[in-house]
């Protein structure tokens, strides 16, 4: 297989992490981090250790302080019969077997990255081999559980479309995992072959830096602990990986506020009210039934808060990167064109503060859960209008530009009767509150669906990702000459559909969208987002990316993060 040769011709040299990772993308089989079995079974080990420790607690105290002996203990029995030697031998054999199994499983667990796929094979008795095609990658997630983080390890989760369809490289050295992600994404983007000469040129220019790296290595070895601490405290997103303008962060206070003003809080308040009413009217049994659940809800808040803390979203050359987590961190990259639908929504309670949430549908789901244990479908847990426009320009780079700003704003906050094709007055029979706001608009290659007066929502579906399209009419709709349009996308939290639209308009929409969806899908080239059509002019992405609102060109040559 070919060596990774995808280099943007004018890009700056590779980062050290990527240089370290480079030798892993040569198409040969490689092994994972030696501590992998330990980290995979990490929790079990801690549990066993804790179990043994807690069981021997008395004995340990007794050993040091000297307390009365209890009879009938297995350890005493061993001691009394003089079987210490055998017992120790047994323990040693078990330990040896464990280590043997670990070593074997580590030996048998290997991965390779070729020019068109990532493969992992593992298992001692039952061998499994998984292969993910690079051009089908839906996302790459870099996960660092607490334990692995302490050891400076991370796992790389490459997801392709489908349920439980991911190839996991667990565990790798932290910086290696970072570099590998960059390499895999670069290979997947399809930038290669043509730029081989440029890469050769660059590697010949590199020696100066290599010696510098060697010099710094001694210093690094001397300061291993310091590096671990640094790694642990380092920001979720490498500041060099993305232009600072495209990074969105959530202030902790806002996060807290958004949690307190969620639907769950309303539920809790109602429960508390019922409790107080129950307590005053003498129904004390309510307290016993409900109180545990109430205490559990506290853990919900804490969990959600810590998980969503340090949430950051940024645009990189290879797509959107979403990071979150306080102790266990996760950092997922979604390449361009992997987002099937986007929804911007605002519950009533958030309206005074102007907060919004953004959710997406994707075909691949990382096995690692996202913020608050949800799948990674919440792109922005909470943010103001500026954040929304930034995140939208990251997730739909080709669409969310200055010229569409007005439409998107109208879709978010307008009360109706504007740029969108609205519903007729008779729709009020079905949507008494929101009939004015209900509307759709077809802009370029995306459809915008606006609905909800109390729970505002704007769904955007790129037509290039639309799977199929449905127009429905029930008896009530028929009596009112209305119809419902449904846009079928891969499953996710966003369900793009619009009820109570004018029937003739609906038919027109159906015709137009079905025609445009085919055209958009034909024109779509994002599965190899880095490959440039030969006749297309090369644009310098660095210039356009400095502006927040400017789209990240899908087809621009990739620049290395330095």
């Amino acid at each position: 297989m070919t060596r990774p040769d995808g280099r943007a011709p004018a890009g700056p040299p590779l980062t050290r992490a990527e240089r370290a990772a480079e030798r892993y993308t040569d198409g040969e089989w490689h092994r994972l981090h030696p501590a992998t079995p330990l980290l995979r079974g990490g929790i079990v080990f801690i549990a066993i250790f804790g179990f043994v420790l807690s069981n021997l607690r008395e004995r340990l105290i007794g050993f040091f302080v000297g307390t009365p002996q209890y009879a009938g203990d297995p350890l005493d029995a061993i001691y009394d019969h003089g079987w210490e030697g055998w017992a120790l031998l047994g323990v040693a054999v078990i330990l040896l077997l464990c280590f043997g199994a670990f070593y074997l499983s580590w030996r048998m667990h290997s991965f390779r990255i070729t020019g068109d796929a990532v493969e992992v094979r593992s298992g001692i008795l039952f061998r499994t081999q998984r292969k993910a095609r690079l051009d089908r990658i839906q996302g790459i997630n870099l996960v660092r559980p607490v334990l692995a983080r302490i050891f400076g390890a991370a796992k790389l989760d490459v997801s392709v479309a489908g349920h439980d369809a991911n190839v996991q490289l667990a565990y790798l050295g932290s910086s290696l995992a970072d570099g590998l992600r960059g390499d895999v994404l670069r290979l997947a983007s399809g930038v290669r072959a043509a730029e081989a000469e440029a890469a050769a040129e660059q590697s010949s220019a590199a020696p100066g830096e290599v010696s510098g790296q060697a010099a710094s290595r001694t210093a690094v070895v001397g300061d291993l602990v310091g590096r671990r601490v640094n790694e642990f405290l380092a920001p979720e997103l490498d500041p060099n990986a993305a232009p600072p303008e495209s990074v969105v962060k959530i202030p902790p206070l806002r996060l807290l506020g958004s949690l307190l003003l969620s639907g769950f809080t309303v539920f809790v308040v109602i429960v508390v009210a019922v409790l107080i009413w129950g307590a005053t009217s003498g129904a004390m049994w309510l307290l016993i039934v409900v109180l545990p659940g109430l205490i559990g809800s506290a853990s919900f808040y804490i969990n959600r808060f810590t998980k969503s803390l340090r949430y950051s979203i940024a645009g990189t050359a290879d797509g959107v990167r979403v990071g979150f987590g306080l102790l266990s961190t996760s950092n997922e990259t979604l390449p361009p064109g992997r987002i099937h639908a986007v929804e911007v929504l605002q519950p009533l309670l958030w309206r005074p503060f102007g907060w919004w949430q953004i959710r997406i549908d994707t075909a691949g789901h990382s096995r690692e859960k996202g913020a608050a244990g949800q799948p990674n479908t919440t792109m922005l847990p909470v943010g103001d209008a500026t954040d929304v426009s930034r995140v939208l320009s990251l997730v739909l780079p080709g669409f969310v530009t200055e010229e569409h700003r007005e439409v998107i704003e109208a879709g978010m906050v307008s009360r109706g009767r504007d740029l969108f094709t609205g519903s007729p007055r008779r729709a009020a029979w079905i949507r008494p509150l929101s009939w004015q706001r209900t509307g759709y608009r077809l802009v370029d290659d995306a459809i915008l669906l606006r609905r909800g007066l109390i729970w505002r929502s704007l769904a955007i579906v790129p037509l290039a990702r639309l799977q199929s399209l449905e127009l429905q009419q029930g008896p009530l709709d028929a009596a009112l000459a209305l119809a419902e349009a449904r846009f079928h996308t891969v499953s996710g939290p966003v369900r793009p559909r619009l009820a109570a639209i004018d029937a003739p308009n609906g038919v027109r929409l159906f015709e137009e969208v079905s025609a445009r969806a085919v055209a958009a899908a034909d024109a779509d080239r994002s599965h190899r987002w880095g490959r440039i059509a030969p006749d297309e002019p090369r644009t310098a992405p660095a210039a356009s990316r400095t502006s927040v609102d400017a789209p990240i060109p899908l087809d621009a040559p990739r620049t290395e993060e330095s």
Binding site: E470, Q473, L480, A503, V507, V518, D522
Partner: protein
């Protein structure tokens, strides 16, 4: 001003007239099973409202039998240049457009009654679970031919997800 939606796409291809028999057979079997269950509950189980359940089952079955021909006739499909159009339903009308490039899988199913009549159901699967397009009651040769044609079309227009 009641208004039904309709797409001006010309003539729809309809399913086999024999498909009505499949609908009738399945309605009758379901109706019989449900009435048997309610009679059992009424007479043996001693459930006082068993006769109500029986009446409801019988009425629903009769209505279903009456509208069965119309329901079967309402199913139609059409192969356009770039997509497959599908429609069904009288009261609840449903039109679906599936671009050929989006088809991931095409299934042919035959139930026992369909098999006796030489019919088959064709099911289209896309990456979206909600697509749910199934053309029932196609004569077997036609179903096989349609499947091959659609697979060919899907391959020639293959797109990513």
């Amino acid at each position: 001003m009641p208004e039904r939606i309709d797409l001006t796409v010309g003539e729809w291809r309809r399913v086999s007239p024999k498909y009505v028999l499949v609908v009738i057979a399945s309605t009758v079997i379901t109706g019989l099973l449900l009435s048997g269950a309610s009679v059992f509950l009424w007479l043996v189980g001693g459930w006082a409202f068993g006769w109500v359940a029986l009446a409801v089952v019988v009425i629903i079955s009769i209505v279903a039998l009456i509208i069965a021909p119309r329901r079967a006739r309402s199913i139609g499909y059409r192969l356009r240049d770039d997509d497959l159009l599908f429609r069904r339903g009288i009261m609840f009308q449903r039109f679906v457009s599936v671009p050929y490039g989006r088809m991931q899988l095409i299934d042919i199913n035959r139930g026992p009654v369909s098999r006796m009549l030489g019919l088959a159901d064709l099911k289209f699967v896309t990456a979206a679970a909600s697509t749910g397009v199934m053309v029932p009651g196609l004569p077997e040769p036609e179903a096989a031919e349609l499947r091959d044609r659609l697979v060919e079309l899907a391959e020639s227009r293959l797109a990513g997800l």
